[in-house]
Every structure is written in structure tokens, then in C-alpha cells.
Amino acid sequence: MAEKKFEKALEELEGIVKKMEEGNMPLDESLKAFEEGIKLSRFCAERLDEAERKVNILLREDDTLQLRPFEGRDGDDKTPEDIA
């Protein structure tokens, strides 16, 4: 799942940075690590830039599960996106 990847990416990025900071990595390995690190940071940034979400309610219809958009009982409430 993409979301598991995010945490992994962030951890990997952290690992790469720490390893590079230790400073005993050969040059070509360092460059590879750098490239990988930049890729990871871009991936994380993209995931963080997403702003949309879906809120669904799970309903049982004719014994099958169906997802329907959830509209809260108080529709006049501001959605968090509006606040932000």
C-alpha cells in the first residue's frame, strides 16, 4: 500500500542521511545514495502535498457491502479543509 511506502520512504531517507553523515561511504555509493535520497524526499513531499480525502459509510445492501459517500448529520459544519 502506498501509505506503508510513505513511512518506509521516510525511514529509508533518514537511514540514508545518517549513513552519509557518518562519512565513510565510497563516492559512487554516496552518489547513488544521494540520488535515492532525493527520490525518496520527492516521493514524501508529493504524498504530503495531497489534500483530498474520501469519507464513505459502509452499508450492507442485499447482503453485500457497499460504500456510499458519508454526509455528516450536520452538513453546515465546516469541513476541516475549509478551516485549513
Binding site: 513511512e7 562519512g23 524526499s41 459502509l58 476541516p80
Partner: protein
Amino acid sequence: MEKILTVTQLTQAIKYFLETSFDVIWVTGEISNLRRPASGHVYCTLKDEASQIRAVAFKGTAEKIGFDLEDGMKIICRGRLNVYPARGEYQLIIDTAEPRGLGALQMAFDQLKGRLEEEGLFDPSHKKKIPFLPGKIGIVTSPSGAAIRDILNITGRRFPAVDIIIAPAAVQGTQAPPEICAAIADLNAIGVDVIIVARGGGSLEDLFCFNDERVARSIYASRVPIMSAVGHEIDFTIADFVADLRAPTPSAAAELVVPDRRDLIERTKRLRSRLIHTCDMLLRELKTRLVFVAEGLRDPRGRIADLRMGLDDRYARLTGGMRHILAIRESSFLPIRRILMRLTPVAQVRELRRRSEDMKGELETRVRFFIDTLRDRLQRDMSLLDTLSPLSVLRRGFGIVRLPDGTIVRDVRMLTVNGSVSVKVSSGNFKARVTTISQEHDDGGKEI
């Protein structure tokens, strides 16, 4: 004579009488002499201060009543009377029972908690990790409650891009436990990354469905990690103990289930700049080392530079030496130069110049004297001249008459009538016209 009854006949009569007279009855008392044979039925004695009665809860009932009957426990139970002819005993057959008095729910809670704990349902080793950033969050709760609103608000604020699936379930009352269990199973089936089982605050009884054994087992069985978020911070339910993580409130669950996006952005940025900085440092260091190594390589260009420098050095030494030789040569001319200096005619020239200056002064004095003498004589001659000048004659009243062409009129015959003349007198000139001419020897008839 009275009818003689057999024991069986009497017992049957008693059985009929008792079982029909006490069809369904409610009894309260304290349990004692409790026994649990392998059959699963529970036998005990119900007693109060003065009396006692045998009682039994058959296996099915004993499992259903929600708590374990124990010695010393005070209960209210519903049942019917039963006579057991083989032993000539009567007993109460319990079909439901509830603990009596304050702390009754607490007792049931403690019992269930103890039992599930022993069974390992709360075992930390069984707890699943809550994902760091879930993509889909399942929420088991009432779709109209405050809990769902809080969770939606807070998760939306912290991390907008996480999908949420609400699995609706009653969160109080008898229908709540089966609905909660079904919702958990449904979310497992549909696939989410984490489940929050949530309910806002309420009375102990309101929250009691989260102390239900079925709910506990369904949480335990879930493949998806479950976070419990029931009631207020002080409320602990069985669900909290089984859950993979207990959040004190639904709002707290929302805070725990997604990280704050701004923190993550900050963290990512910081890592990125550390990465760039480190790489930059590394390259710089390598460059320095490279320069070092390159020097060690004795680049031919380096040799040329060396040679060139050597050449420069030699050239400098050469010119320096030359200059030195010249200086030595120069010094050998010094005595001759000194003699020449002594023979120089500068002094005579200076003497001659001084004398010439003196003479020049004398000459100037004499010339000035001569000029002054001349100037005095001129002065004298000028005043003599003045007495002889026509101008002094004019001052005595004479005038000089001239024709327009400037010719002085000495004879009237030079004049014509109506001709114009100019007359100069001592203080100026004036013009006049000739009106009459009389050729006499006397006064010229000049009129104005």
C-alpha cells in the same frame, strides 16, 4: 380411613403442586456451596439469614448470564421450582441472573477482565502496530454521534489526504455488541489500514457494551490493528485492554491515528537539506583530496612550470649580477669625478654674475636720473609753449573762424553770404552763418 399414598404418589403430588404454584419466580439470595461438575452445570445453594434453597444453572444458562456465579455473591435470579423425585428434593432452576447491589457491573467487569487476561487476550505480544500513516481508516461508531464528528475534524486538520470508511454500529444497548462485532468484521473484509472503535462519553451502563465478551473477542480476532476510543479519559473498558492501542477519547484517537502533516513536511525538508549538505561536503572533500593527489602525480605541466620558475630565477640572478658589476665599475670613476668637480668654473661664473648684477643696478640708477632730468626740462618747455599757444590768445577773447573744410579764415574774400563757418573760442566751438560781408579794413560784419 384415610387413603394411603405411596412415596411416589406423594412426591408426584408435591411436584405437581409446587411446580404449578411457583411457575416463574424471582428470588434474591447469596450463593454458597457452589459446585461445577464436568457437565458444565452450576450447582449451588441460595441462602439468606434464616433459610436456604438449592439452585442449579444449567450449562447454557451459566454461559449466557454474562458473569460467573461465585460463592458469597448476592444475586437476583429468575427461575422456576423443580422437584427431583429420586431424592425427594426441590430446587430452583435459574434461567437468568444478575449480580445485585452496587458494583454489580464492576464485578462482572472484573471477572471478564480476569478471565480474558488469563486467556492472553491482553497479551502485549499479540498487539499489532498501528501504522504510521494509514491510507484508509475504518471507524466503528454511530454515524450520528459526536465521536465521528470529532474524528473527522481532527484527522482532516492534521492530515487531509486520508480516506475514511465509517462502519455504522449502535454504541449502546443490547444490539450494540453484535453490531460492533459485525462492523469490525466488515471493515476487515473491505480492507482498511487501521480501525478505530469509538464512542463519546456516557454513563458506566452506556459504555457497558464495550465490556462485552463478544466485542472483546472480535477485537482480538481482527487482522487489522484496532484503536479503542471509548468514553472519557477515566473510563477503561474491556475493549481498551484488548485493543492494539487505547486512545483516551475519540479526539485523542484522531490525533494518534494520523501524524501532523506540517511536522512531516518539516521533517522531510530537514532530511533533504541534510542530504544535500552532506553530499556537498563529501564532494568538496573529494575535490580537495583530488587536488592533493594530482599534485603527487607530477603533471608535466607542473614540471614546465617548475622549469619556468627556474628560468625566472636564473634571469633575475643574471640581471642582478650585471647590475653589481656596473656598480663596481661606476665606483672606480669616483676619484676622477671628484677632481673634475674641483676644476669646475662655477665659482668664477658666480663672481662674474654678481658683478654684472652690480653694474646693472648702477646703470638703472643713472638712466633713471637722466630720464628725470629730461622730464623736468620738458615741463619747463611745456609751460613756455603754453604762453605761445593760440589757445592762450583765445582765452583773451579772440576766436578762430574756419570754413567747413577747416581752412582758417584770414580774409573776408574767403567767405560767401549764407556760407557757414565754425568759430572756435576758448571754451568751445559754435557754428555761424555769414549774413553780410563788407570788405573794409575794420570790423568784419559778422552777425549771429
